[in-house]
Amino acid sequence: MVYLTRKAEFSASHYYHNPDFTPEENRRIFGKCNNPHGHGHNYTLEVTVKGEVDPRSGFVVDLKQLKEVMHHEVLDAMDHRFLNKEVPEFFTQIPTTENLAIAVWQRLESKLQKARLHRVRVYETPDLFVDFYGEE
């Protein structure tokens, strides 16, 4: 088994708010992230796929196809967007880095050919990242 990781970057804004909480609870739990006008990050996405090396091509995965899927499913939808207002998953879920990693996994999983998704890592900043390995 060989693991291959491809990186991509995108920039987006978000805010954290749960309509079931009171305004006071939202402020206490989410702090500055509760500002309804949003704030932004430069996200770095790492997608790791795994598979056997094809003896004819020497590849685990067609990198061009992986790049296209990442662009189409993630970057086109999220780059330079307000996640709460423009990405359907976050009309109902809070766009935390945890939920973002899960959403990226769900967008990519069914679209990849041959190689299997191993891990989605989303960096919100260089000092904070979340890993999702699928449902266990």
């Binding site: 079931d20 739990i29 935390t96 000092d127 904070l128 979340v130 390995y133």
Partner: protein, 140 residues
């Protein structure tokens, strides 16, 4: 849905690698420049990885404010800008980055209750790092 969250922290400290159980010659042979009696310093980067189900009401594994506050109070304020050899746990224990990783893991495991502690990774320089995940190997 279970996710792993990793937070990076930074602190600076000095240390001297020296074992009372070795002769001066052995210490020098084992630790080389790190045996300099005056000590030397590093900028350490600490990575703490915790895991757990993503809480549907908050979208979080744990509240980062709680993790930051705990690490600041129990780890960073203990080691930042200190000579590690003068800290209690290193009175008898050589303050290698291996031992420092284990100490930090145990501080977190004893006191941080808001998520499951997966591992601690400590970079001593950009060229070397150490991981400790308790008695078990890292899960991923």
């Amino acid at each position: 849905m279970k996710a792993h969250l990793t937070r990076r922290y930074h602190f600076s400290a000095s240390h001297r690698l020296h074992s009372e159980e070795m002769s001066a010659t052995e210490n020098l042979a084992t630790y080389g420049k790190c045996n300099n009696p005056y000590g030397h310093g590093h900028n350490y980067t600490l990575e703490v990885t915790v895991s757990g189900p993503v809480d549907q009401s908050t979208g979080m594994v744990c509240n980062l404010v709680d993790l930051d506050r705990f690490v600041e109070r129990e780890v960073l304020s203990r080691y930042d800008l200190q000579n590690l050899n003068t800290v209690q746990e290193f009175a008898q224990l050589v303050p290698t980055t291996e031992n420092l990783s284990i100490e930090i893991f145990e501080i977190l495991q004893r006191g941080f209750r808001q998520a499951h502690l997966e591992k601690v990774r400590l970079e001593e320089t950009m060229m070397n790092s150490f991981e400790y995940a308790g008695s078990a190997e890292p899960t991923k």
